[in-house]
């Protein structure tokens, strides 16, 4: 028994050391270099800063006439808008697809699941947006994020629906519940746990999305958080301190989210991924 305990402790030590080296150092590296002066940061090493220059953050925020604040506003609106629409549309769709098994729901379900695998066709999408006269608008990028995240979200809702017993709906039916009331006052409240997962996963996904805003939401006024970060990479290529200050500013919201919802995020990811 004693021997076993030692192996476990050795395992702990090795595990923590490996996790530290492989996964923590890159984040320490970002943080340390974001607080150095330009010359020091450009040496790209891990040492503590000689003096902590919190002013780097201020400088990054002020760059380009407070561009990063506009970017946060845009990313925030896109994320909130898309998540709200997704919750409404995907919960309804998942509910019907799971409860009503016939030809129509079968076809819809296959089509949506194909969307899990196939990448969006970029230029034809721009073409459609132009034909609808909504290219480069906030509305269009929200609709696109909704469309692209629909398969995954419907899948989550459909999977969760199958764990909800049908008896409640039958009782509601006998009491003369209308089909809209059935959903809004009986089923939707029961979907709360999966809705929480949907919010977190989609929020992270959409906030971190780079390629869709790059294609479908171009222009300086439209800049999103990830696009500014990419542009800063060119602009600050010789001042790593500012570049990493920008990285930290963008990473911190996710870090806070993670510290609060750690367990829910991990569980949600598993639920989403395994059912796929």
């Amino acid at each position: 028994m004693k021997k076993k305990k030692t192996t476990i402790i050795v395992g702990d030590i090795i595990g923590c050391a490996a996790a530290l080296i492989i996964f923590v150092i890159p984040f320490l590296f970002m943080l340390m270099n974001s607080l150095k002066d330009r010359k020091e940061a450009n040496q790209l090493n891990l040492s503590l800063p000689d003096n902590f220059l919190w002013s780097n953050y201020l400088e990054v925020i002020q760059t380009g006439n407070y561009q990063i604040l506009t970017a946060f506003k845009n990313s925030g609106l896109i994320t909130i808008g898309s998540v709200v629409v997704l919750i409404v549309t995907a919960s309804m769709a998942g509910y019907i697809i799971q409860r009503r098994r016939d030809k129509v729901t079968g076809i819809v379900s296959v089509l949506i699941m194909v969307g899990l695998m196939i990448p969006p066709a970029i230029l034809p999408t721009i073409w459609v947006l132009q034909k609808l006269h909504i290219y480069k608008s906030m509305f269009s990028i929200i609709m696109l994020e909704v469309a692209l995240n629909t398969p995954f979200t419907v899948m989550l809702y459909r999977g969760f629906m199958s764990t909800i017993p049908i008896e409640l709906e039958e009782a509601g039916y006998i009491d003369g519940c209308s089909k809209i009331n059935m959903f809004t006052s009986i089923v939707f409240p029961l979907l709360k746990p999966v809705t929480a997962t949907v919010i977190i996963l989609n929020a992270v996904n959409i906030f971190n999305d780079f390629s869709n805003p790059l294609y479908f939401f171009p222009g300086k006024a439209n800049s999103t958080v990830q696009l500014t970060l990419y542009n800063f990479m060119g602009q600050f290529s010789s001042s790593y301190n500012l570049l990493f200050a920008d990285v930290i500013i963008i990473v911190v919201p996710m870090l806070i989210l993670f510290l609060i919802f750690n367990k829910r995020i991990v569980d949600g990811m598993v639920a989403g991924a395994v059912k796929g």
């Binding site: 492989i22 459609v128 609709m143 469309a147 629909t150 971190n208 390629s211 294609y215």
Partner: protein
């Protein structure tokens, strides 16, 4: 109860409409536009010219090759490494919850931020990774500047980022294995390695299949990380289909760009779909 009346198809309309207008129509249109020379106002049919060009031009067909290398290697490495980490993290060690969170965190960071950070860590003269290797007498490696190495460096970073989700899927799979198997094996005198090879390995197949499919498709579609780290360079050494789609669009060759999209779709149709079918048929067998 009358299912048709209660579960009205009208509930499907919002999701289906948005999905059809912003995903299905563009996808179908891409099949046609990939056969044309077009801009957003007009198009001229040119048959399979775009595809011929794609396969004959070296700067383009390298993208197909790189995409396949990228998809196969990232999913292969994630499948193996994540399994080992998951076995380790489901063992009796005490700090597993902390390590689990640490391993998981990269998944929440934007790919662009990770690309920027690793481009700095991999810097040929000043980067930490080279200074670390020089302790062991390894000379300076130009991770992202050497044509032969660059793609593999990015694959390494992709694996670093993607390990988290793969590990979490494996952990869920391993934890759902009936403890009775291990107890029975222990009574029969099986050691740790026996248990790993004959219980954990075969019974974690469903999660392994998810990891393979997810990372393979993710690999074929990958763009952000490559774009942030090398932009497809040096030369065309790290260009993949998705980065070619962007470059051809920026250069104004819309037909060629759309053809790149269609090739991605075809690769997924002829590789990922059958792979998934095959893996799931084994799972139920």
């Amino acid at each position: 109860m009358d299912k048709k009346k209660i579960y009205s198809l009208w509930f499907l309309v919002p999701a289906t409409t948005i999905f059809a207008v912003f995903f299905i129509i563009p996808t179908l249109a891409s099949l046609y536009f990939s056969l044309t020379v077009w801009n957003f106002d007009s198009s001229k049919f040119c048959g399979l010219d775009n595809f011929k060009m794609f396969f004959s031009e070296n700067s383009l067909n390298i993208g197909i090759k790189n995409t396949l290398i990228y998809a196969v290697l990232t999913s292969g490495l994630k499948v193996i490494l994540a399994f080992l980490i998951a076995v380790f993290l489901t063992s009796a060690i005490k700090t597993k919850h902390i390590i689990r969170s640490v391993v998981f965190f990269p998944n929440l960071i934007s790919t662009i931020a990770i690309g920027i950070t690793f481009a700095a860590l991999l810097h040929p003269t000043k980067g930490i990774i080279n200074s670390f290797l020089s302790i062991f007498g390894v000379g300076r490696i130009d991770w992202l500047g050497n044509v032969d190495i660059a793609l593999f460096s990015i694959i390494g970073v992709d694996v670093w980022k993607g390990l988290s989700i793969a590990t979490v899927i494996y952990i869920a799979g391993i934890q759902s294995i009936d403890k009775g198997y291990y107890e029975a094996a222990a009574i029969d005198g099986a050691n740790g390695l026996n248990k790993l090879l004959h219980i954990t390995l075969p019974l974690s197949r469903p999660s392994r299949n998810s990891v393979i499919i997810l990372s393979f498709i993710g690999g074929i579609r990958s763009f952000d990380l490559i774009w942030a780290m090398t932009g497809g360079g040096p030369g065309f050494a790290t260009d993949v289909l998705a980065s070619i789609v962007y470059k051809q669009y920026a250069a104004g060759y819309y037909g060629l760009s759309t053809a790149g999209n269609v090739i991605m779709l075809v690769l997924i149709a002829i590789l990922a779909f059958p792979l998934q079918k095959y893996l799931y048929s084994k799972e139920t067998a």
